[in-house]
Amino acid sequence: MEETQGVILDVQDLSKQYDPPKGILAVDGISFQIRHGEIFSLLGPNGAGKTTTISILCGLLQPTKGDAWIFGHSVRREPLLAKEQIGVVPQEVALYPDLSARENLSFWGKMYGMRGSILKQRVDEVLQIVGLAQREKGRVGKFSGGMKRRLNIGVALLHKPRLIIMDEPTAGIDPQSRRHILDSVKELNREGSSVLYTTHYMEEAQELSHRIAIMDHGTIVALGTHQELVKIIGEQDRVELTVSQSSQSLWEAWRACEGVQNVVADGTLAQLLVEDSNRVLPHLFEAAAATGVRITSVQIQEPNLESVFLHLTGRALRD
């Protein structure tokens, strides 16, 4: 398939089943496109199929069905050409701890076919970009978690790829490093790179993305800009209530209340999608009193991606 109308990644009916025919269907016939200059996020809880999708695009897994074209190169038939076009930031830090930052970058640059003065110059540039020029000779094993993450991203930038694929690059890191990474993604995008970003953090997808695909159980349940996705749930509010004790009868009572669309409970925390929070809230308090449970806190939130996911799947995004 040729690169047309600015489409740099074209995923068509992509499926992956592990150990067929009875194994888990991790990705189930998904299709989407990424256009030039776009930050596109795959948002979904753990096990939604995001990493499997990324692994297929990076050539680590063979799809069971369907195909994907990166700048017109099929990941099935032309995997090496497809891989030349992308820079991959894996979920876990994938660096050699006993080599220095510079040695790591030099090695990975060679793996992308870079040599000599061009490689050296690019390594210098990337060390500046990730803010590790002063620590270029330090062994990566002795770096802090945030420094490793930055270098992990730097490796993916070495050959100036036109599409950068980032698989949950902020998972399990401190807020400061996360902020640095998010800013880096925006900066890369401003410089012309397109980004495919996976996350289970709704806020990240909301902040970074031009378009978002919400994934669940291997399928894309919704796809669009943030505004488009929020419109799906109309005027619904998301109400978060903390109660004094978990009570199945209370959850059932709330589900029966008029105007309540959805109830997801986790311990003493319950998330509800309601049509008009001002009208519904008194009924919720009445039901709680009737079951002998005390409401200890109430939070009413504007519609967001969390609400969309709750609306579409009946589950909270962090389940």
């Binding site: 692994s55 990076c58 050539g59 680590l60 063979q62 090496l80 050409l81 891989k83 030349e84 992308i86 991959v88 894996p90 876990e92 830090v93 994938a94 660096l95 050699y96 006993d98 080599l99 040695e103 090695f107 990975w108 060679k110 793996m111 992308y112 076919g113 490796v155």
Partner: protein, 419 residues
């Protein structure tokens, strides 16, 4: 080119691991050195056995007027300069004092020559027993002393027989007064004995020659020390092969292997790069071990071509086995039984730890041939003995073919795993 980059990167990482360097180079040399020193070079065959302290008590009373005195002659044999490297001989006037010296560890052995020793030596009419009293801890030295005494006594007996035969012949020829010639014969015999104890070129001294194997390569090296070193080198080369092959699993667990696969590099090229690193590590390891063991222990490893054949064969089969074994397990955490169990067991069956034992049961020798290490040891022993490259062709071929088969199976399994 990428293949080499991967191999050199692995090599660079391994060279920064003190543990890896220690296991690859220091430990084999250290163990060989310890074995050498622990056994005091006893297996060297180089005469480094400590001389035994011998006390001689000569109670012999030769017949009056006889020029032949067996006791003093025997004492002379023991004190003789030829024995100095084996025994430090002193004399004592009494048997009791000599026994006490042995019991108090002031001497290792006591030889008591009885009073009728000459009488018996001349005519054999009665029995006389030499008494050797020795420290029971000693194993080798009493045997040596016994052999020396037996040789000398055989000489005395031969003299008695010669005199008797001479007199008989004298009588048959009708020569008069044969008995009167006995002192002359005895004197001649005593002179012969004395001459025979001379340090240079005497009759007895030239009767036999102590000779080492003629192979020039081992002329000034210690063969069993060299074989022990060969055993250690083979064991740790096989260990290195498995450990470096395990690097594939470790990279898989660290996520760097997946990242390598996401680069525009063919999977086969990546895996081959890892294999090249296994081979490079073993080549460097063996070259350094050969050089260092020559330097520290004076080992001569054989002719260059024989050495190359033994080395290449060992590397082929060790690398192949390492890759194959690692392809059987799923994670580096499972490598303990492979490294500690399989490699040690096959090394034992291959004879690597019993290389310095003089006699090995036949069944064990046969079992050697069913282990990769056994074939490697065979090749190195041949090289050490100065065998020609042609003699090494069979073990080399066995190791090369086995190594290639194991390589192919291991590579196939890894490729299938990461397909």
């Amino acid at each position: 080119m990428k293949l080499l980059n991967i191999a050199l990167k692995d090599l660079s990482r391994i060279s920064r691991s003190p543990f890896g360097i220690g296991m690859a180079l220091v430990v084999p040399l250290l163990i060989t050195g310890l074995i050498y020193f622990a056994f005091g070079g006893i297996s060297s065959g180089g005469g480094s056995l400590a001389p035994a302290r011998v006390v001689v008590v000569n109670l012999d009373q030769p017949p009056a007027g006889s020029p032949f005195a067996a006791g003093p002659l025997l004492e002379q044999v023991l004190v003789g300069t030829q024995m100095a490297s084996l025994m430090q001989v002193t004399t004592s006037p009494s048997e009791g004092a000599a026994r006490l010296a042995v019991e108090n560890k002031q001497a290792d052995m006591a030889v008591v020559i009885p009073a009728n020793f000459t009488q018996v030596a001349l005519n054999g009419s009665s029995k006389a027993s030499l008494l050797v009293y020795f420290d029971p801890v000693l194993q080798v030295q009493p045997k040596i002393l016994e052999a020396i005494l037996r040789d000398t006594l055989d000489g005395f007996s031969g003299t008695g027989i010669a005199i008797a035969t001479l007199l008989e012949g004298w009588k048959q020829l009708g020569l008069p007064d044969g008995e009167s010639q006995i002192p002359l014969v005895e004197r001649l015999y005593v002179e012969w004995i004395r001459n025979s104890q001379a340090p240079e070129g005497s009759a007895i001294g030239s009767a036999f020659v102590l000779q080492k194997p003629a192979a020039p390569q081992t002329a000034d090296s210690n063969p069993l020390l060299a074989q022990t070193m060969a055993g250690m080198m083979i064991f740790f080369v096989f260990y290195s092969g498995a450990v470096v092959a395990m690097n594939i699993l470790q990279e898989d667990e660290q996520g760097t292997l997946a990242r390598l696969f996401s680069t525009p590099t063919a999977k086969g090229q990546i895996l081959l790069g890892k294999l090249v690193s296994v081979l490079l590590v073993m080549v460097i390891q063996t070259i350094l071990l050969l050089l260092l063991s020559s330097l520290f222990f004076g080992i001569h490893w054989g002719s260059p071509l024989s050495l190359v054949l033994a080395d290449l064969g060992t590397i082929a089969i060790a690398g192949g086995l390492g890759l194959f074994l690692m392809s059987l397990i799923r994670s580096s955490r499972q490598s303990g039984p492979i490294l500690g169990g399989v490699l040690t067991l096959t090394a034992m069956l291959g004879g690597l730890f019993t290389v310095s034992l003089p006699s090995i049961p036949k069944a064990f020798q046969v079992a050697n041939l069913f282990t990769p290490q056994g074939w490697a040891l065979r090749a190195w022993k041949l090289s050490l003995s100065g065998a020609s490259p042609v003699d090494l062709l069979v073990p080399f071929a066995v190791m090369l073919v086995s190594g290639l088969i194991l390589f192919a199976v291991g590579l196939f399994r890894f490729k299938r795993r990461y397909a």
